[in-house]
Amino acid sequence: MNTKKVVLSFPPSTVEDPIIYHLIMDYGLMVNILRASIDAGKQGRVVAELKGDDNQLKNGANFLESKGVEIEPLTEEIRHIEEKCTSCTSCVPLCPTGALNVDRETWVVSHDADKCVVCLSCVDVCPYRAVTAHFQ
């Protein structure tokens, strides 16, 4: 089982298609949508975590491409600026995955990018502006 965090860009022609449904039903992928938006020009954007074996992921990707959906890997979107972080811990309970975590011996807060699903809930929460989002 592999997990891939991806950004899917949907052309306006696909907005009415149940593409995510097909990914799940026909390609056996587990899809966890982290963020979804659609702009005025009907260009859709979905940030999702796809889970499946290598074959399922490959076939799912081929299907998406055949529909004109662009797939990009999601990397390094959240930056935790250590010099600005005071390790206050106020973000910790609001991070759904434990990516922002505190060591209860040293009381230092750190960010684990592998666990981060870029839900952005920490960005407006940090009073010291020590977490920032970077879109690609």
Binding site: T86, S87, S90, C91, V92, P93, T106, P127
Partner: protein
Amino acid sequence: MAKTIEEINEKIQSGNVVVFTAEEVIDVVRKKGTKQASREIDVVTTGTFSPMCSSGVFINLKQDKQKMKLGGGWVTLNGVQAYAGLAAADIYLGATALPDGDPRNNNSRRGRFRYGGAHVIEDLVQGKQVLLKAEGYGTDCYPRKWREQMIGFDEMNEAVLFNPRNCYQNYNVAVNLSDKPIYTYMGKLNPRLGNASYCSAGQLSPLLNDPMYRTIGIGTRLFLSGTEGYVAWHGTQHNPNVPRLENMTPRAGSGTLALVGNLKEMDPKWLRAVSFTGYGVSLSVAVGLPIPILDEEMMRFVSVSDADLKAPVIDYSRFYPTGEGKPRLREVTYAELKSGAIQLDGKDVPTGCFSSYQKAREVAEHLKSLITDGRFFLSCPVSPLPGPTEEQGDLK
């Protein structure tokens, strides 16, 4: 045997002083007992690093050749308005002040509050210059009516941090019982007990280690954001008359301190502006208070641990803003809060803090090294803070 502050200062002078932080001392007292420990230990250092909106700076601007009266006029620094109802060259810039154009929480959008008074103060401490714009009405002795100029500390005779209220002795734990997320000065609170916010260094917090204000009073010298500061007065909203535990620590917010210190000497590492989404701007300062171990009672006071300190859990969706509903959902210890979750309504509610324990530790350690190196001496308060005056019943 009781010690005096003079005797402790002599020990600091001769390099024989024994200092522990309020965290380290817990184990020492556990092993040795209060009697022996009080003979051996001279000073216990506390620390906190936390946002406090009741902060600001008095600035006296150097006059140019042609003088100007700011008093009764209008002054902004980087677009943030300062209070000009003082003498010709004095202004007060409050931490929470916002520039005129800031959208605040208008148009049903949560404000981001990216820049305000606290950020101006932070810029100055970082050695930056800020844009002064001032309008006066002109008098025979102060003819100038307009001044626009980049200024920094060099253009000021004095810049004095004055916090009318700081170092809250204990504080609420905030939760949200409603169905919507709320944005408060205790941060974002997710609905249906999604998270709990607290704001105290607990066992390292200054006033929780001197619960009856026996040693901390007006004139107490302290570490303030990189320099020496003083307790100027009791803080605003100082309320010693709240119910207390057997160890005399209050079971809710109670005592506070008004603090004063030279902003020009402060260190940007220890002074930070903060922005609370949906709430506003605030300022975090570092405060380290030394507690002289005068006798066994003081030793007992400073040996409290997080398990001995309790705070009330308050609903910030209803009771706090409106005074309606259940006043107190539970009482929790700081040990529970620091474990990462508290139990409420059969639910594990994850906890987060606004007061940095890691920084509080650093402050207490730093003050300890200043004292042991003979670079910081204790002061005798010139007058005590108001203590409890009424018999206290139970919390409602």
